[in-house]
Every structure is written in structure tokens, then in C-alpha cells.
């Protein structure tokens, strides 16, 4: 696991304190969306389809700090929209660092290289760069040729300047596991701290409604990708969550583990679903009808979700509050998950032409 010891210590003690205090619901990471404006128009994204007057709105630094303090989570992810389009992003980040929050600034990195001089390297600050795979795959997925190369320049410069950098990938149906593994080699060679990954979620507002994987397919894909790991690969995620994606363990969704605050308020029930907003974190925890969400609820909007915002929290809690989970987490850090069946899957996926037919991000006819 690529996460620094100081961060692991902060998170583990936070989890244990909350458990010892008997809290049923608490959050590990606040998803802070200070704006929805973005410089990309990705086909799989359902986050930025709003009228212009909504896209122009931004949270103020004071609103961000108030939300962070109210929530109390030790980690803050700043997605969006594109956070670097926010004119006060440096002030927001510095304010969060001053509060000793571990900040993951999630960026498409189109602006990263020339904005880096405005930030100071810190153990609390990580640039989490959106890269969905190798050059062609990423560019096609984000609907912009050249986006990969620009992001790579930003990553290399950030690494050179001593920043913590991760990549952050979302995989949709049709992705080639061999290409994903080659992508892991590429980004680790750039010196990033680790890789963050997730299966795509079926946003009902996303332009592409035809490439969302069901749970069975997600498990098969991630087993192919994450088995037989190379020694150079590091993941900035709980090993137990990765095992969940591979189908080796099961968790129930913990939507309050990564709550979302944005220009509309505290979002019910989670980062992915928009079922209403409330004015405070306390109200979010107390008034959301949590039993209506998650796989056991039968809610079809939750049926295919295996995304980290719901399922990494239970993995982290499992790892830090049970001996069995702790040992599994420790083992997961060193386990390469040898798996002949997964190797077979990789060779099958490498067989030419068979899967190109319905592949969302490898339309061969478009690459002439």
C-alpha cells in the first residue's frame, strides 16, 4: 500500500476513537465539490450537466472550511468539476492543510503544470490525477485528444517538485485488462505514489448509458487486472477494498463514510446519488433513510455499484478494527495474488478482434 504511515496512523486512530465512542455512523473522507464547472466533457460523467448559472457557482473558502470542520473526517477529497478552475483553490487547499486534513485534489491535470508553483508540497496534499488508462483509451474516454499527454506533463512536474501524486482511474465496460496493466506500469514508472481505481457508476445523467458493468463483470474484470501483480505496482487504497473488487470478500455500502458537500448543501445519500440536500452534516446523518439504499435495499440505483465512495469505508474499518481484517490488510500489502485463471483471462482478452465490437473506449474504427 502506498499510503504514508502518518496518514495511516491518523485514519486508524480516528476509526478506533469513533468505534470506542460507540458512534454508529462517521465519515472517513469528505467529498468536497466546490464547483461543477469542468474543462472536459467526458461521456461517462454525470456530474456536470447543469445550466450555466449553476456551473458558475462556487463554494467560498469559508463554506469549505465550515463543512470540513462540521464533518470531522481526517481526509478531504476535492473533486468537482475541475477544482483548479476555482479561483480560490489555493486558499482552500492551504486552509485544509492548516487544519491537518489529508487533501486529495482530484484534477484532470489540464492546468496542473502551470498551477503547481502556487502550491507547496506537503504530506497533507496529494494531486490525484484523473487518468482512465493508456493514451488512446484515456483520450477517447474523456473525449479529448491530447488530454493524456498534458496530464502526464503535469504529473511529471508535480513529482519533480516533490508533491504527492496518485492517478485516479475509472473503468467502464469493454476496457482491456492488459491495457490497464500496461497503464499501471507506465504511471508507476513516472514516480507516482500509488494508483486509485474504481469501476464506473451508472450515472443516470451521463451521456453514455450503455457501458455500465454489473457486479459479476466488475469482479471478473478486476480479478484479471489485479491478480498476478507486479512488484512495482502500489495502490493508494485499502487492500481489502481491492479484494472486494476482485470478488474475494463482500461488504455492504457505507454511504455516510464519504459524504458529499457542494453548492446545494449536504447531498443525500451519497456522492453518486442525488436524492436531496440538507443543511447540515448532523441532519444528513440523522434524517437520511439509509435503509433505502445499498444492495440489500433492492434499490435499482444501487444494484451495480461497487464504487469506492460506498465500499472503501467498510474495508478500512474492517482493516483497523478487527484482528482478522488487520491481518488480511497486512497480507494484502505484500500479496501478489497469483492466479492462473486470471492469467488465462488476460490471454483471452489479448486475442485480437473478439471484443472490439462493443468496446466503449477502443472503437478501432475510430483509430484509423
Amino acid at each position: 500500500m502506498a499510503i504514508p504511515i502518518s496518514q495511516m496512523w491518523t485514519v486508524s486512530t480516528y476509526v478506533l476513537k469513533n468505534k470506542l465512542a460507540g458512534r454508529k455512523r462517521f465519515s472517513l473522507t469528505l467529498m468536497l465539490e466546490p464547483l461543477f464547472r469542468c474543462s472536459l466533457a467526458c461521456a461517462g460523467c454525470g456530474k456536470v450537466q447543469y445550466p450555466p448559472h449553476i456551473l458558475k457557482r462556487e463554494l467560498t473558502p469559508a463554506e469549505c472550511f465550515a463543512a470540513v470542520e462540521e464533518c470531522g473526517a481526517p481526509m478531504v477529497a476535492i473533486p468537482g468539476g475541475e477544482p483548479l478552475l476555482h479561483p480560490q483553490m489555493v486558499e482552500i487547499v492551504n486552509g485544509l492543510i492548516a487544519r491537518r486534513k489529508y487533501v486529495y485534489l482530484c484534477t484532470n491535470a489540464l492546468e496542473l503544470k502551470h498551477r503547481l508553483p502556487e502550491f507547496k508540497p506537503s504530506k497533507y496534499l496529494t494531486f490525484s490525477v484523473h487518468l482512465d488508462g493508456q493514451r488512446e483509451h484515456h483520450d477517447f474516454g474523456v473525449c479529448r485528444e491530447g488530454a493524456y499527454d498534458i496530464a502526464i506533463e503535469g504529473i511529471k512536474e508535480a513529482v519533480r517538485r516533490g508533491f504527492r501524486v496518485t492517478t485516479n482511474a475509472t473503468f467502464f465496460d469493454g476496457v482491456d485488462p492488459n491495457s490497464v496493466r500496461a497503464f499501471f506500469d507506465e504511471v508507476m514508472a513516472m514516480g507516482v505514489e500509488g494508483i486509485i481505481l474504481s469501476p464506473g457508476y451508472s450515472y443516470d445523467k451521463a451521456p453514455d448509458q450503455h457501458h455500465f458493468m454489473g457486479r459479476a463483470r466488475v469482479r471478473r474484470l478486476f480479478r484479471a487486472i489485479l491478480s498476478n501483480r507486479k512488484p512495482t505496482w502500489k495502490f493508494n487504497m485499502s487492500p481489502l477494498f481491492l479484494e472486494f473488487l476482485m470478488g474475494f470478500r463482500n461488504y455492504e455500502c457505507v454511504p455516510w463514510g464519504m459524504p458529499t458537500y457542494n453548492i446545494f448543501g449536504w447531498q443525500k445519500p451519497c456522492y453518486l446519488l442525488q436524492d436531496g440536500f440538507v443543511g447540515s452534516y448532523k441532519e444528513l446523518l440523522e434524517t437520511t433513510e439509509w435503509e433505502k439504499y445499498g444492495v440489500p435495499s433492492g434499490n435499482p440505483k444501487c444494484a451495480n455499484c461497487m464504487v469506492s465512495c460506498g465500499y472503501e469505508t467498510p474495508a478500512v474499518i474492517d482493516g483497523f478494527t478487527t484482528w482478522k481484517g488487520f491481518l488480511a490488510m497486512a497480507r494484502g500489502n505484500f500479496n501478489k495474488y497469483p492466479d492462473p485463471e486470471a492469467l488465462k483471462q488476460l490471454s483471452e482478452a489479448a486475442a485480437p478482434a473478439e471484443q472490439a465490437e462493443d468496446c466503449c473506449c477502443c472503437h478501432e474504427e475510430t483509430r484509423a
Binding site: C38, G214, G298, C360
Partner: protein
């Protein structure tokens, strides 16, 4: 967007190969008939889920062009409310269902009309024309 009735069993969920996407309801330009309380509630639920502005006409005659981002459906119309933003105003407004006489889905639906196939077509056409740096740009903020 309300929580829908149960559709999947655990076994079905675990065996899902492909998750069905959503069908976009074409609401742009729609003016629902608000003949009953149920009709009003249904229209406001759709307005909450709509990714464009709507125009609300109040029983007082006032007209408000708004983006509805939240709703609270309670037992009575008087207790139920929507929350909205209007352009150029930072305030989160709140309005009781009981005050609303008419709803028009007047704004462009920002979640409609953009499909993966459109991007593939756009890409193929530009590529065939010998262009490079092909991209879809975010919509202008007007």
C-alpha cells in the same frame, strides 16, 4: 429522483453482467397539467430531477425562472417545499408547493442530447477529414 420500488434480489444483483442505463425522459418544453395534488407532486419531483431551469408561476401571478435542486415532500402541500437557485442570485430560495400554480420546463435539458455515439461519429468525421486534437468542449457558460 425518488427511491424506486424494489427491483432486484441479492442473487440477481450479484449475477448482473451489464447494468441497464437510464432512459432520459424528454421533458424540455413540457407544461404539466396540475389538475390534482398528485399531478403537482409528480411534476415537482420531475422538476427536481431535471437538469435545466423551469419557470414557476405562483398563485399570486409572480413568475420565477429557477433551477430546482431540492425538494421536501411532506404530508400536505403547505408543508412541502422546493429549493431553488435563480440566475445571478446566491440565495437558496424555498417555496411551498401550495403556492405554485403552474410549472413549465422552459430551460434546456443539460443532460439530454449528448450520447456516446455522437462523440464516436464526431471523432470519425474529424479524423476522416485529417484533423488532429479532436475534442468535445464543455458548453459555453453564455
Amino acid at each position: 429522483m425518488t427511491v424506486e420500488v424494489q427491483k432486484y434480489t441479492m442473487e440477481q444483483v450479484e449475477a448482473l453482467e451489464v447494468a441497464p442505463g437510464a432512459d432520459h425522459e424528454n421533458l424540455e418544453g413540457w407544461v404539466p397539467t396540475l389538475a390534482s395534488e398528485e399531478g403537482l407532486r409528480d411534476a415537482l419531483e420531475k422538476a427536481f430531477d431535471y437538469r435545466g431551469d423551469v419557470t414557476l408561476t405562483l398563485k399570486s401571478g409572480e413568475r420565477i425562472e429557477a433551477y430546482i435542486f431540492n425538494r421536501h415532500a411532506a404530508a400536505t402541500l403547505a408543508e412541502s417545499w422546493v429549493q431553488y437557485f435563480v440566475s445571478g442570485d446566491a440565495i437558496k430560495h424555498r417555496l411551498s408547493y401550495a403556492l405554485i400554480a403552474r410549472i413549465e420546463f422552459t430551460g434546456k435539458d443539460r443532460a439530454a442530447g449528448k450520447h456516446w455515439e455522437d462523440w464516436v461519429k464526431h471523432y470519425n468525421e474529424r479524423k476522416a477529414a485529417g484533423e488532429t486534437n479532436i475534442a468535445l468542449a464543455p458548453e459555453a457558460l453564455e
